[in-house]
């Protein structure tokens, strides 16, 4: 990195070390003249981005924490109420249910799609003729809009005319009122989430597989290890860092599920599929309780931070 870095700081430091302090000031000034121009250019180039990120990310984040301690309904000034929002939030059975649902959704979608993704990645990594087609197929749900995809699933789940019930009937199983039945609504949403989440995980696994040193497999083959044995004693351990990475981004993604809930169930039936994000949305944009919504989004942030920190600690210990 240092080769591409321009640090006059290093020159300046050397000059200020006692003993070399006799460096001629004339030379220093010449460097700073050229540098001055460059620094100005650097600042000019970065200023628009600093303003944009500052205005639309930094200020909102600070504001979220501030607003979470207030009672604020847009039309009157925010009123400081200390921890009342938090107290109310954790006594609210619907919000508690949304935490439970979010965790349950994450608990199922993440491992299921990770397991499918790793198997597909390993199979795809064998240089099959059709591998490009397969990769495209598995990745397609990732590039298309969640809203559009959820719309298709809404039709597939249709209890009267839906493809899923037709398929079940064909093999002699009873159909269900998938998204309307409190028992089946959350599993249905989980199915869509897992289906959509495979692509990106597969891609990261493929990248990781290509970084495994081929000679490991050659050596194992010479020792007579079977393909299955090689998978468990070479591939699986070598994929550990990628697995950690996929695990974290998947959890972060799953915790922020929103679009498909909006389209498929609207959080129902009877809050069976409401999520933390959905409660933030409801508080802010249906009830106009901005303070409460902020408190709920702080809770969501805390969960994600917790997951990230834990995983970092685990990864560090592994190293």
């Amino acid at each position: 990195m240092t080769t591409t870095d321009h640090r006059p700081a290093r020159v300046a430091k050397a000059a200020s070390v006692p003993g070399t302090a006799t460096a001629p000031p004339r030379k220093r000034k010449r460097i700073s003249m050229a540098e001055k121009k460059r620094r100005r250019a650097g600042w000019l180039m970065i200023t628009p981005s600093v303003i944009h990120v500052g205005l639309w990310t930094l200020i909102p984040v600070i504001a979220t924490f501030y607003l979470s301690f207030t009672d604020y309904g847009i039309f009157s000034a925010p009123k400081w109420i200390w921890f009342d929002n938090y107290v109310e939030m954790f006594n609210d059975p619907v919000f508690m249910q949304s935490i439970g649902n979010t965790i349950w959704y994450t608990f199922w979608t993440v491992p299921v799609s990770m397991a499918v993704a790793v198997v597909v990645a390993v199979l795809l990594n064998q240089g099959l003729k059709l591998q490009k087609f397969y990769r495209t197929a598995f990745f397609l749900p990732q590039v298309t809009a969640t809203v559009a995809i959820a719309m298709v699933w809404l039709w597939i789940f249709n209890p009267q005319y839906g493809l899923l019930n037709a398929g079940l009937e064909a093999i002699g199983l009873p159909g269900q009122a998938w998204l309307v039945d409190p028992q089946w609504a959350l599993p249905s949403v989980i199915l869509v989430g897992a289906w959509q989440g495979i692509g990106i995980k597969m891609l990261i696994y493929i990248a990781a597989l290509q970084n495994i040193d081929e000679s490991l497999y050659e050596a194992a083959s010479l020792d007579g290890a079977s393909a299955v044995r090689q998978f468990f004693s070479i591939t699986v351990p070598m994929l550990k860092p990628a697995t950690f990475f996929v695990f974290i981004i998947s959890i972060i993604g799953a915790f922020q599920v929103f679009d498909q809930i909006y389209v498929l169930t609207d959080g129902g039936p009877a809050n069976a599929t409401t999520m933390m994000t959905y409660e933030v949305y409801r508080s802010a944009f249906q009830e106009f309780r901005m303070g409460m919504a902020s408190a709920q989004s702080v809770a969501l942030f805390a969960f994600l931070l917790f997951v990230t920190l834990i995983s970092r600690r685990v990864t560090k210990e592994e190293d």
Binding site: A41, A63, V152, E214
Partner: protein, 311 residues
């Protein structure tokens, strides 16, 4: 965007998309057949919803009311698409999405490339602090900033009837400003650009400087042409994210004129949830541009997703 984004970049810097030869690469005969069968089943599972979407969009209402459903339309109702455009202004929604996604892409490339270049190749005071701040901003989930972002838009001073303190009107709500400005740049784009500029050699700029080129010309004429693949990658990811975005346009617009296609779909479904052939035709229109873009620019998408890690 999140912390792991950064880690992913570190991991996958030299990742190539093309598969290398692997241990039972020469899998032939029964084994290859088995693997192909497994993967085909998986691929079909992934593709069925898309095929079903297109097939449904071409059936008549009477046919859709049959159970069990037919696979292929008895009569291919291509007229459904024209009827869909009559039922809701999907053409307008489509155009709005296109305008917004294109503008986001252009702004992100222009501002992101400049910022990335400055962070990678120019030393100035405060650079490290700014870089760390950008990384911290990468970790902020959407839902931790959405409420104040909405309030910022609502209370934007001197717009939409607001006074200098942002009171009295609706600010940027229900305007193009709200759709274009906040989503116009992301910390992750800046970060990706920085990584690409860092990977370029230093002697080019030294030569350029001897020739007397200013910093902006070195940026625009020497280095930026060298990162064309990076521009394609960041551009496509931005376009895709913007085209597929739902929550933000849903929150800040109310009038039909400013509706983007994803919101248009949701509204159409809520108002008219029995016309499945039209809904699926609309959904096909919302999906097809991304599918085509993905198939033709797969290389850049895959590079981008492997680098950026998350949607």
């Amino acid at each position: 965007m999140t912390l792991p984004t950064i880690k992913a970049l570190a991991i996958s810097e030299e990742v190539t998309v093309a598969p290398r030869k692997r241990w039972f690469h020469h899998a032939k005969g029964r084994q290859a057949v088995l693997v192909n069968i497994l993967l085909s089943l998986g691929a079909i599972t992934m593709l069925v919803p898309f095929l079903w979407m297109v097939l449904t969009s071409l059936k008549s209402p009477a046919e859709l009311a049959q159970f069990p459903p037919t696979v292929f339309p008895q009569e291919w109702m291509w007229s459904n698409y024209a009827a869909t455009l009559d039922a809701a202004p999907f053409g307008l929604y489509f155009r709005n999405s296109l305008v917004i996604a294109t503008t986001h892409t252009l702004i992100t490339i222009a501002l992101g490339a400049m910022a990335g270049y400055a962070l990678a190749r120019i030393y100035f005071r405060g650079r490290e602090a700014i870089f760390l701040a950008f990384i911290a901003m990468l970790m902020i989930p959407t839902y931790t900033k959405i409420v104040p972002q909405f309030l910022l838009v609502k209370f934007m001073p001197l717009f939409g009837g607001n006074d200098i303190l942002g009171q009295g009107g609706s600010g940027w709500l229900d305007t193009w400003w709200a759709l274009i400005i906040p989503g116009g740049l992301s910390a992750s784009a800046i970060f990706l650009f920085r990584q690409f500029y860092l990977s370029l050699p230093k002697d080019l700029e030294e030569a350029a400087r001897i020739d007397g080129l200013g910093e902006f010309r070195i940026f625009a004429q020497i280095y930026t042409p060298l990162i064309k693949p990076a521009i394609a990658t960041v551009g496509l990811l931005t376009f895709q994210e913007s085209w597929n975005n739902f929550l933000w346009p849903l929150l800040v617009t109310t009038s039909s004129d400013l509706r983007v296609i994803q919101v248009g779909l949701a509204v159409f479904q809520q108002l008219d949830n029995t016309q499945w052939q039209y809904l699926m035709a609309g959904t096909t229109m919302a999906t097809v541009p991304m599918v085509i873009l993905f198939i033709f620019a797969q290389k850049y998408f895959i590079q981008g997703f492997t680098n950026a890690g998350i949607k």
